[in-house]
Symmetry: C2
Amino acid sequence: MNLPHSVRLVEVGPRDGLQNEKQPISVADKVRLVDDLTGAGLSYIEVGSFVSPKWVPQMAGSAEVFAAIQRQPGVTYAALTPNLKGFEAALEAKVEEVAVFAAASEAFSQKNINCSIAESLARFEPLMAAAKAHKVRVRGYVSCVLGCPYDGEVNPAQVASVARELYAMGCYEVSLGDTIGTGTAGDTRRMIEVVGRDIPRERLAGHFHDTYGQALANIYASLLEGINVFDSSVAGLGGCPYAKGATGNVATEDVLYLLQGLGIDTGIDMDKLIAAGQRICEVLGKANGSRVARARIANR
Amino acid sequence: MNLPHSVRLVEVGPRDGLQNEKQPISVADKVRLVDDLTGAGLSYIEVGSFVSPKWVPQMAGSAEVFAAIQRQPGVTYAALTPNLKGFEAALEAKVEEVAVFAAASEAFSQKNINCSIAESLARFEPLMAAAKAHKVRVRGYVSCVLGCPYDGEVNPAQVASVARELYAMGCYEVSLGDTIGTGTAGDTRRMIEVVGRDIPRERLAGHFHDTYGQALANIYASLLEGINVFDSSVAGLGGCPYAKGATGNVATEDVLYLLQGLGIDTGIDMDKLIAAGQRICEVLGKANGSRVARARIANR
């Protein structure tokens, strides 16, 4: 059993977590969330995205959020940028790192971003060139790696193909997302085994959703396969609009609890993390999606 | 990675799941639950317990439940029996197999059953003798194996000591219970490693609670350690009254989903299992505690 000594958690709550919220969330509340997460010791926070507000109105204020957060040295504040226009807006907002995304399933790519996988990858080329010129690191996301809401099963070879292209284009890390949360530990192992033939495992990250309650088992399976970066969302914020009943992203608190129990270092303070999550849940008027947070708060 | 080809799930919903419900549940509803679980392919169902109704009023009708269920060949219908009196009542109700329980923590033993661990074990001796005489198999439970609500950490050596005594007394299987759900995959591995020095792993079972969302990761870790029997509760019924905010027993549906994904056979039909869980939740007027059931029902 070779477990890593330390793991990096990529906090996606402010972006992936909030983007599908229907109610307006003030810039001040978003800034407070990011600052709370910085204070809790997160070293990587996806703050917002630079996409058309027509498509994702909740992310319209991302530039203002970037302008107001208290940036700390050693913490990466990243943004999702679907194209060159978004990248340029991100540059203007002094974003230090960006992320691009592609789907492992043709049907999902068509329905989600209205183009084929190949077209979506081609669109990143000018962005990748600009990022290189500006020395901005780019992270790649692949969605639907363990299942598609339209196509059902997704072949690991297809995941590997998309991940390989993102890596070859210059993404320093590729995050493998089980968007609909249907994958199990066995699927996770098989997928990593195939994708890991082309990309070093230290360049892969796991992004799991807890819709079927499998996220922590999948993370444990991934750790045993040599993965040591995981995306998670404080208080389990967010969910996939394409999967009804989705409980969404795995909660950062629950992942941290697992890692702490395994003696794996993350640099994150659990109490401060729980407070950050509970605060945004109160702002949203939502139940806290972290089981650890719920149990800790109930036992106070 | 040596995973078992098949796993036996011990369904504890009708007993462990319902025993702490405050509202009255009719014998007919309990019988229906057991019959539904039989129909879903469960091969082992803990139907009730023969304890003083003063302590656990919800289990007062266990004899009537045993009299009314439709027993199927190949399915074990078991009951919890804390002492000889309970065992005799179980015999009268034609119970085929019984279970006894002890705690791995002194403080929990004192607060839960009002005696020391040693005293609780001594009380089982006449029961074990009677069971042997009547050729009734006895299963042993150890609670608090990964933490105690009063003492905090529990030493794996203490768990091993209690488990060893139960095994030596004649329990054919010892179920290791993380009563408060605080254990993680690392704790689980270490505990099995220690307990497994004295008892063959095929004689051990895992009993995990999902209070901190760790149950499936713990089950996956246990599978990798050679455990192939797990206790679970349909719809996640039940919880520990000693841990506030407890989401209780891991849901059978969620465990089954994990096992199906790993290609491990259980003989259980997911659709029928979900229907059995949803029906009892409707009777209780409670939200379904299984993430798989919630996701499946929402996506219908």
